[in-house]
Every structure is written in C-alpha cells, then in structure tokens.
C-alpha cells in the first residue's frame, strides 16, 4: 500500500536499468532508416579566413557520392541560415568566411559512410587567411573583430536584454555594483589581488553528437541526442519558416551530455541536408570532431579583496573574461549567471563584478556541468587560502568569519534561503578531521589538505510543462521533455508523479522527449529538471485532482466520496475507458537584475551548494601530485532518490578532477593538437582517489516535495580544494589549471632559490 512520503527518498534502480546493462537501451547512435544517407563534414583548416573558392565537382563525381552540400545549397532552402540561443551568429555551414579551425564548411552525403568520408578529400577549398585572436583578454582590445555584426536571438526569456553589436568581441558584459567598493578599498587594512586562469576543456560524453533527420511531406523528424529538444524544434522551425508542429524532435537516451548537447549542434546541418535530397540523413561525429563542436570556456579571473586585520572581507572586485570561441552558443548566459556569484560564498558589503563574454577564433564554448561556477570557484577559493595564509589565519576559521549565512543577502541582493552553506562546510571539515594535526612529511613526499566551497544561482526564469495522463485502469503516464542523459531524470520524475498522485511506482510510466507528444521544456541543463519539471508535475497532479472532483460532481457523487479513478471512469463511460489528463506549467518567480547595478532580490529558483575537502601527497622531486582523499559534500534539498543522487555528486567530482589535474585542449594556431581521447585524457579507473560523498537532505521549501537540483554541485569545490591542499603541502601558489606535474615542479623550482636546490 502506498502513502504520502513513500516514493520520495526511495532508492529504486533506474527505470531503464535492464535496457542499459543488456546493451539494448535506445540511443540515436543505433538508428538506421531505409534509404538513409550518411553525412560527413568537411571542416575549416584555418582559424580565420575568407572562403575564396569551394570546388565540389570532383567530390560529387566520386563513385557512390549522392550529393555534396555547401552553404550555397542551404541558402536555397534557408535564406538566413544563422542560429544560436543568444545571438544568431552561427551559420549552418560556413558562409563566405570561417571563424575557427574545424568549422563545418561542406557535407558529403553517401549511402556508405566510408565513401562520404573519402570524398571529403576531393573537395577543394581556397581560403584567404586572416589574422585571428585566441586569448580572451587580448580579444577585448584586439583590432580583429570575430564578427562584424551581431544580432541577438531573443529566444529565451532570460536573454531578452542582449543587444545588437558591431565591431566588438565583447558579446555581453554583466556588471554588479553593491555598496561602495572604492571607499572600502581605501579604508582597508590589507588588499590582496590575484589573477587565475582555467583552460579550455571538453565534455567528452562517450556518445559523440549524432542526429538523424527524416524528411516527410512538409514535415521533418529529427532523432537527435539533444538536451533541449523543445529549443531544437523552435529553432529549426524558425530557420525553415515552418510552424512548430511540422518539426518533430525525438530524443531517446543520451550517452552523456554534461551541457555539450544543448542548442543546435548537428540538427540544422542534418535537417537542411535531408530536406535538400529528400532522404533520411544521419550525421554522427567522430570523437575528434567533438573538440571543434562545443567546449568549456577558458577563463581569466582577476580578483581583489579588501580585508580587515582580523580577517573580515569588506570589499571584493572581480573581473572575469570568458573565452567563448567563435560562436556565443550559451556563453552569454554562463557569463551572467556565473557572474552573479563571482564574489564567492562570502558575506561582503561592497562588491564590484564585471563578467565579459568574449569572442575569439577558438572552437565555441558553452555550458559544462556547473555553468561557469567551477572556473570562478577555482579563483575565489584559491584566493581565500592565499589571503588566510598571508594573514596567518587558519583557512577554515577565515571561511567561518566570512561565510554567507542563511537569511543574509548574497551579492546580488537575493536572500540565501534553504542554502545550508554552514552545514556543508562543517561536514567537510569534520570528515577531514580539520582540528587534528596532519602529518605533512619532511622528506621528498609532502602531504597537505585543503577545502573549498561554492554556490550557484540557477538559470532563471525558465519554463517546464508536464502532462499526466491517468488511464482508465488507474495507472498513469507522464509526458516530459526532460532528456535522460544518465542523471536518472526519468526515474526521479516518475517518483515525483507517483508521490503526487499517491500511486506505486509500478503504476507509472515515463514518456520522454518527443515533441510530437511531450509538452515544452526549456532544457535539461543547469540542474533544473528535478526542481522545475518536478514542480510542473505537482501542478499537473493538482489538475488531475481538480478534474476528478469535477467528474464526481458531474456524476452526482458527494464530494470526497473517495471513488478511485478507475471506478469514476467506469461510472462515466460504462466500461474501462477514457482518461483524466492533467497539465501543469511552472516558471519560478524572478526579478530582472537592474541593468546598471546587476542587483535583484529574486535571481535564482534555488541555491546549489557544494564543497570539497582534499588530501594530497606531492612528490617534490617530480611535481607529481596524488590526491589521496576527495570528500564531496553537497546539498540536495529533500532528495528524491538518494542512491542515484549520490552518484551524481561522485560523478561530478570525478569529472572536475579531470579538469583539475590533466584535461586540457592544447592549441596551435587555433588547431587542437590533442583532439582525441588518446591525447586528451579523461579520468580512468586508475585515476580515482579514495572518494567520500555526502548529500545533505535539507528541504528546499519551493522545491517539489522539498527537492532541488544537485547534478552540478559536486564540481564546485574540487579544483580549489586540491590547489589548497598542494599549497598546504609545499607552499606553492598555483593560479592556473590544470595542475600538471610539470606546473607543480616549475612552481616548486621557482619558489626555491637555485643554490638551495638538492
């Protein structure tokens, strides 16, 4: 028998568990259609240049080649072939010029993918190479303008403030002004300033991007590995000038996403190709091509703090430059939302933040698990330990003195609510046994420990719509546009609908992401699904109950007569027939930040809080760092499925461990020199330290049954906790990621005068 509270907090296995362990789960990767052609993409071989000539005749004449498509062909179908969630800056295929190495220039279609691949070599492209700019700080003043003109997309409610721009590489500048920063700095006992950098990195979902476009009569179906099918539908319909209902976007399970499968990736190319040749077209990227498709922003973050002699931070100034590459993708949102919390998890009276989204001639950057917070946390939490050291204050004590506590206004003016920052910090410190001395070693191997904590404001305002169909047997089907990319959303949302309708899980089925069936959802990103879709499901369940009451009244039954759905429908239709369909849509409260000050009392649906404690062993002769313990603590609100949730914290921390220690896209003249998993290493079995993960279960009063998002929180503290542990062990102040053995050794050597070296 089920009762309220029985489904939330239950660790049931994923609904699709059997399909996944038997290899039968559906991915777009598996899809083959009759008459299908394979598309292979010819990519730019220069970082910036004008296309002087494209000759596709030889390639077209190749045996087995069905067609070769360039932007000229696309223009016949789509007169304005530019897309993007923030700016309409990205052409479907390069049009007249290329803006990054690896940009798609032409597509060869053939029934045999090997034939298509071989034919790429027969296409002749002549470029007039132009000067390029790669560095995010240099690009602000560089004479090279990546785009001559920029048109805002005006698609998303939270990006309505973007304006048209000319001859600048600054796509968006978010500024926050709180208190009187200049006066506080003038009055400060101490001023500290450091500049930090992070590297460009890649999502490396093991399923590389793949889209199958299937043309119909005046309609189109896209089977695509997308995190936001609703957006894909809107954007493809806009490009084609079609009504939305003629574009169907279907997403089975994703082989990982992490932010890399948002917005248009292959969908527009595949759609255009399929409509031009009237055949289904599949485009599947190789892992190497993914490095030129979407990445994580490289950043430069300058941070300056005014501190009293007893260790209170009175003012902070932050400047963050986000290297967005050649196309803005969702970078402007990353720049703004991460900008809100750039001053870190501290209660600071006077704050000045400038966060800049910058165009360069690198491959585009977008969202990657944490939406910019991991880059900023690397800066603000390393800065925290540098200050504490210089003031002779214990880093934990320094954090306690300054921590942003429940009920206090964050830098934007939004109140910290249901944000158990103190508890997270306390749990990390307790697990590290911070009060007890640590054996730091005195020989070649030195040991140290560090901790760090971060917070994130979620993307807002965004919309989720859920539809619940209660069948005549009393079982329920939930229709949601949330993409299950491995985070377990089908299962968690299924638990929420079961809870809301007081049904056992066995009576719930989840239909996900098919825009012909599932209603609108803004996207599976920013750890928003449990919170937003969960709330929409609750509202849909309310709608079901309202309709049941109306049915009772219609049947002349007394209110609260407690008939089951099955009995009510039986009475109404005289047999097992009919449905009760409930719909709920949710958009959280939101107040626009003041354009001058960036202040707002309502900027986030919930606060995501996470932190990490690390213990390391540093080999002072080689610079090699071994992370011996990694403790990750995050707040999950009232957790829907504890076992799945804890693996989200653990997985996020492991991913961030890669970005901390070795993952790095290495460029030469805009070309990625290590665009493969052989040369760009992601964490493997042997890299995993002893992990401890803890999820606080504090209720978020606005969340569905108290739940909140947690998929990114495990990333926040990892990099600075490890950096701080190394600082503790050997006293070197690292300011750049990744922390390779070479970087550590260089820092050790430069900290030690030549004559004192062993």
């Amino acid at each position: 028998m089920s009762h309220v509270g029985s489904q939330i907090g239950r660790s049931i296995p994923r609904l699709e568990a059997i399909a996944k362990v038997t290899g039968r789960a559906e991915y777009v990767h598996n899809m083959l259609l009759p008459g299908m052609l394979h598309g292979k993409i010819l990519r730019s071989t220069v970082a910036r240049g004008r296309i002087k000539r494209i000759d596709v005749e030889k390639a077209k004449a190749g045996n087995g080649v069905h067609a070769v498509i360039t932007s000229q062909d696309i223009l016949s179908l789509i007169p304005h072939p530019y897309h993007g969630p923030a700016f309409h800056d990205q052409p479907i295929l390069a049009l007249d010029e290329v803006r990054h190495y690896g940009e798609p220039v032409a597509v060869v279609l053939a029934a045999d993918p090997h034939v298509a691949l071989r034919a790429l070599a027969a296409i002749e492209v002549e470029y007039e190479e132009l000067p390029a700019v790669y560095d995010e700080v240099e690009a602000v003043t560089s004479p090279v303008a990546v785009h001559a003109e920029l048109k805002p997309a005006a698609t998303f409610a939270d990006l309505k403030h973007l304006v048209g721009l000319k001859n600048t590489n600054v796509a968006l500048e978010y500024r926050l002004r709180r208190g009187n920063v200049d006066r506080a700095f003038a009055a400060a006992d101490h001023v500290f300033e450091h500049t930090f950098r992070t590297q460009q990195a890649m999502h490396a979902a093991l399923e590389p991007h793949v889209t199958v476009a299937e043309p119909g009569d005046g309609s189109l179906t896209l089977h695509t590995c997308s995190q936001n099918p609703s957006f894909i539908r809107t954007e493809i319909a806009r490009l084609l000038g079609w009504p939305e209902n003629q574009v169907r976007v279907r997403t089975p399970f994703l082989g990982g996403g992490f932010g890399g499968k948002l917005y248009i990736k292959l969908e527009a190319i595949a759609a255009a190709a399929a409509l031009l040749v009237h055949r289904p077209v599949k485009i599947a990227l190789s892992m190497g091509e993914v490095f030129y498709t979407i990445t994580k922003h490289a950043t430069t973050v300058r941070i300056k703090s005014a501190v009293t002699k007893d260790g209170r931070i009175t003012a902070r100034e932050c400047e963050a430059w986000w290297n967005g590459g050649a196309y803005a993708d969702i970078g402007p949102r990353v720049t703004q939302k991460a900008g809100y919390t750039a001053a870190g998890p501290y209660d600071i009276e006077n704050v000045r933040i400038d966060s800049y989204q910058i165009y360069t001639n690198r491959p585009p950057a977008g969202a990657l698990r944490g939406f910019g917070v991991p880059q900023l946390a690397w800066a603000y939490e390393s800065h925290t330990d540098f200050i504490a050291k210089d003031l002779g204050i214990d880093p934990l004590e320094f954090r306690w003195k300054n921590l942003l506590r429940e009920g206090r206004p964050q830098a934007t003016g939004a109140t910290m609510r249901d944000a158990p920052m103190e508890k997270v910090l306390d749990r990390i410190a307790a697990r590290l046994n911070w009060g007890a001395p640590l054996d730091r070693g005195d020989g070649r191997m030195r040991r140290g420990r560090g901790l760090a904590i971060g917070l994130k404001a979620g993307t807002s305002p965004t919309t989720s719509v859920a539809m619940v169909n209660v069948n005549a047997s009393g079982s329920a089907t939930l229709y949601v546009g949330t993409a299950d990319m491995g985070q377990g959303s089908d299962t968690a949302l299924g638990q929420i609908v079961a809870e809301a309708l007081d049904l056992p899980m066995e009576d719930v089925k989840v239909i996900h992401t098919d825009t012909d069936m599932t209603p609108y959802d803004m996207g599976t990103c920013s750890a928003r699904s449990t919170f937003h879709m969960g709330n929409a499901i609750r509202l849909a369940a309310d709608d079901v109950r309202k309709k049941l009451k109306a049915l009772e009244a219609e049947l002349g039954l007394p209110q609260g007569s407690n008939y089951s759905v099955k009995d009510l429908l039986q009475k109404r239709f005289g047999m097992q027939a009919g449905n009760i369909i409930g719909v709920g849509s949710f958009i959280p409260p939101h107040i626009w930040p003041d354009p001058e000050t960036g202040l707002s009392e309502e900027i986030t649906p919930f606060w995501a809080i996470g932190g990490t404690g690390a213990e390391v062993e540093v080999d002072t002769q080689t610079g090699h760092v071994r992370v011996t313990r990694l403790i990750n603590v995050a707040d999950g609100g009232r957790v829907v499925n504890p076992e799945i949730a804890i693996t989200q914290i653990s997985g996020a921390a492991i991913m961030q461990l890669g970005f901390t220690m070795y993952e790095n896209m290495i460029f030469k003249n805009g070309r990625v020199r290590n665009a493969s998993l052989t040369h760009y290493e992601i964490p493997s079995y042997q890299d995993i330290p002893a992990l401890e993960n803890e999820l606080l279960s504090a209720e978020d009063k606005r969340g569905p049954f108290g739940a909140k998002g947690l998929g990114e929180s495990g990333t926040f503290g990892v990099s600075p906790a490890i950096g701080n542990a190394i600082f503790d062990a050997v006293g070197i102040r690292l300011t750049e990621l990744p922390i390779t053995a070479e970087a550590v050794l260089r820092a050790l050597r430069s900290a030690q005068p030549l004559e004192n070296r062993p």
């Binding site: 083959l32 090997h114 093991l206």
Partner: protein
C-alpha cells in the same frame, strides 16, 4: 558485392553467420549490420572500451578490429549474456549497486567484469581497477562499478544471488 568485398563466415553469439565485408569494415560495423548495437564506437581509437567484444574468448576493441579477420572465428557480444532470457549475476549486481548512469559504456564494463570474474572469482579493488582500466566511464561510475564487481563475486561464490530477473 564489390571488387574489394569478400565473404566471411564466423560464429556470432553461438550462431553461424555469413557476411559480405569490405576490407576497411570494422567489427563494430558488422555487428550493426547484424542488428547488434551493444558494442558502440566512441573514441574510435581503442582507448575507451565502449566497443568491447570477445573474439575467440579474448576481449578486443571492436572499432579497431578489421571485420575480415573474423573469418573462422567466434564472436560474443554483450547480447550473448542474456541468450537464456535472464540477467547474469554481473548485470544484476550492476543494477543493484547503480553502477552506470548514461549506460553508453556499460556493455563494455559488463563484458570485462565477466572476463575478470571468469579468471579471478575473488578480485581485490586493485585487481578490479587493473582489469577494467581499458574502459572509460565519463559519468564517473567507477566506485559503483567496483562495488558491482565485488557484489557479483560474492553472489557467485555463495550462490545466494537474488532470484533471476527476466531481461525483457
């Protein structure tokens, strides 16, 4: 049939197969032609393990293995594990411990876990790590995979595995 194609015969999950292959076809492509999608090409360089299959009982990277070399050999993919309709102890342990997220790499890990337990029924954490180090999981389910392998080993040893679950 083209000038370069040739006909090969091999055993696929216990069933004899004749296939027309081109010299450049990989084993994964041939499996797809046969309607089997459990082995997946991801890195395309043999470093991620998503395309793991057994050829004559030895695990290999299906994305690098040329299909023509299969002639006369025997191939087992993740799909062969459920030939009798039930889940294996390893698969049940993966579910029990939540040892996967997106599931894309999972068939490779499941096959390698079977291989490990076949040769070493009671592996240590270090042996599990060593044995599975040729498989990547971007979701980072490594700690849960270790738990799954240990649980499967335990179930296998004491034969106290929970009742079989249908694979359908």
């Amino acid at each position: 049939m083209t000038a370069t194609s040739c006909s090969i015969r091999f055993v696929l999950n216990g069933r004899p197969v004749i296939a027309e292959v081109e010299p450049h076809h990989s084993l994964v492509e041939i499996l797809q032609q046969q309607g089997l999608f459990g082995a997946r090409e991801s890195c395309g360089e043999g470093v991620c393990g998503c395309c793991t299959v057994l050829v004559d009982d030895k695990p290999i990277a299906g994305c690098l293995y040329l299909a023509v070399l299969l002639d006369g050999k025997s191939v087992a993919t993740v799909e062969h594990l459920n030939a009798d309709g039930g889940l294996t102890v390893v698969q049940r342990a993966f579910i029990e411990t939540g040892a996967f997220q997106c599931g894309f790499c999972t068939p490779g890990f499941v096959l390698m876990a079977h291989e490990l337990l076949r040769h070493n029924p009671d592996p240590s954490d270090a042996e599990i790590g060593q044995s599975l180090s040729g498989n990547l999981c971007r979701c980072g389910a490594y700690p849960e995979i270790t738990k799954a392998v240990k649980l499967a080993a335990q179930w296998q040893k004491v034969a106290d595995a929970p009742p079989a679950v249908a694979a359908e």
